[in-house]
Symmetry: C2
Subunit: 389 residues, 2 copies
Amino acid sequence: MHWQFSARAEQLQSSAIREILKITMRPEIISFAGGLPSPLTFPVERMRAAYDKVLSRDGKVALQYGPSDGYAPLRAWIADSLSGEGARILPEQVLMLSGSQQGLDLLGKVLVDEGSRVLVETPSYLGALQAFSLYRPEFISVETDENGLLPDAVAKVGKGARLLYSLPNFQNPTGRTMPLERRLALVEICARLGLPLVEDNPYGALSYHGEPLPRMLNMNTQGVIYMGSFSKVLTPGIRLGYVVAPEHLIRKLEQARQAADLHTSQITQMVVHEVVKDGFLDEHVPTIRTLYAAQCQCMLDALEQYFPASASWTRPQGGMFIWVTLPKHIDSMTLLDAAVEQGVAFVPGAPFYANTPETNTLRLSFVTVPPEKIREGVATLGRLIAERM
Amino acid sequence: MHWQFSARAEQLQSSAIREILKITMRPEIISFAGGLPSPLTFPVERMRAAYDKVLSRDGKVALQYGPSDGYAPLRAWIADSLSGEGARILPEQVLMLSGSQQGLDLLGKVLVDEGSRVLVETPSYLGALQAFSLYRPEFISVETDENGLLPDAVAKVGKGARLLYSLPNFQNPTGRTMPLERRLALVEICARLGLPLVEDNPYGALSYHGEPLPRMLNMNTQGVIYMGSFSKVLTPGIRLGYVVAPEHLIRKLEQARQAADLHTSQITQMVVHEVVKDGFLDEHVPTIRTLYAAQCQCMLDALEQYFPASASWTRPQGGMFIWVTLPKHIDSMTLLDAAVEQGVAFVPGAPFYANTPETNTLRLSFVTVPPEKIREGVATLGRLIAERM
């Protein structure tokens, strides 16, 4: 007997990406599909030492239930590291999460009613679309160009919407970055409309050339909901992220979070605090940037060499993804079938669109596959695309 | 400016228990309020060794993203340890969670629409009421007696409801246990009605006298949704639990889980598997039982000595809680105010009722406070109650 599911569950589909990932876990596959950070960047020995130290020193605290809002010293460290450019972030504005994806679910829960208008980039992060969709909003896919969201387009449709979801740095899936003047315009427009501006920033630290652009959070701490993560700068398997927002929202998110799963693992937070508190990320993150920048360049070179002139792609200044646009008539979903048969995987672009998909797009990750395999995989894709021209 | 919250968020209140816990974190307070396991029972050194081993051996896997359904060897271990009494549980029926509280949120998300009827015990676990309430059901508070749910009462109101939530072993908050014949009757009635029967069992292993009664899961693996936890038998701060259900529901819960927070910490699962795989719990859990049984007896003796004859309380055969019923006119919420002033805390009974509360009830936890403090705290409460007679 099958039980009756809720209406929201009936419409729920499995993540296309995670289903593909299951196939592409096979080691013989060259997978550009995953958003997995390179394990070469995991500071295993430092983590091991930190677990050892925390458990030796504070084992009974680390293994006990903890507060819903998170481990206070880590919240203070985050608030401090985000403060600057004239903005002071308070620890009370920080809620620890079991990965920043959890923040998307909580924001949907707390801000979205059935039929509420939710504004997203075109295309947008698939995991955000999935998280919000459980709360059954009306998605508004806001117009973008190569620099991301068009502020005028937001101004036109933003009134009365519940939130605008943006990924300003090295966006997933496109890899593009929003310039400073556009950030300023967006913050101004959202403040004027009373529209909560979500700034999701998992990749911000992975800037290949100099410091990333200023956070929108710091331009208006009372108008922006900022999400950060340790997944891309430390390790993802521990599941640790955070949301920063005006206190009235943080308290509500914290209540929803109590009901959802009480709190984030206490030992995880204590260990990460132990690892980061003395500036480790300042020396560690540049090594990730160097690795990813080289692999990005390798893929860009291979695309230049193997892809037809009628295809185009982004040239990211950081992060983990390149976005490819093929000639209109090539459907990347059927291309994927052929590619997997040839031992190469990627994520088709369609699931990243909240409304009308551009089916001739695809996302390539360059961070987990070594350079010679990047060249081999791109060459295979180029051949398959050429066959379809 | 305050942003507009969703209707579900507007009605959301902070957990009374967690708010009280904040007050009672002060070390001078004798707190019977928390549901915190005794840190004396945490196998700190064994956990430390397991983190060390997992990170030394498989660091890069432990720190990478993992599958949404969980770490396969741990799922297999759980399936194996729950199989028996003629029932075979498959690993495919197990979904790992970041604490079993997360299962309640996911069940609400997947099974409950606004206005759906959700059946709960009277009284019931506060955290379940909170988790489900976010999905705005109509709670039906099912009649109970000293042996828990009345099967006839379930039969009367169960048709068309979305789920029945039960805690058959050493229930939170009452400490009571459902006898075997009642479990059998309940399983039979729920199967007949097509009503999903949730068996939440965080305390089952903490039976003071011999083995706990058979799980309802094993009476009908296709009719019961079972939730288990490592919080009470190992440590809570790592946040690790699981749900076992028919596969069609598990797949749907897994999809919801992907959207909510991707997956449970990979390293946590690998470490717990390392700790439990060779039978550690078989030797460890009896030491927890012995400690809690002694503290329970200490509290029962103190209640006998210090509480008036017109108060009554449960005599749990396991678990962490005693439930006290005071004379009708004494409101335990105002009693709490007076008690905290005298340095003693507990949880008033009212928040555990889905509908009409019995305001003369309260929950006492006996596991985190040492025996001499149990006597002192109960004596204080007894005096305050006597003053109100």
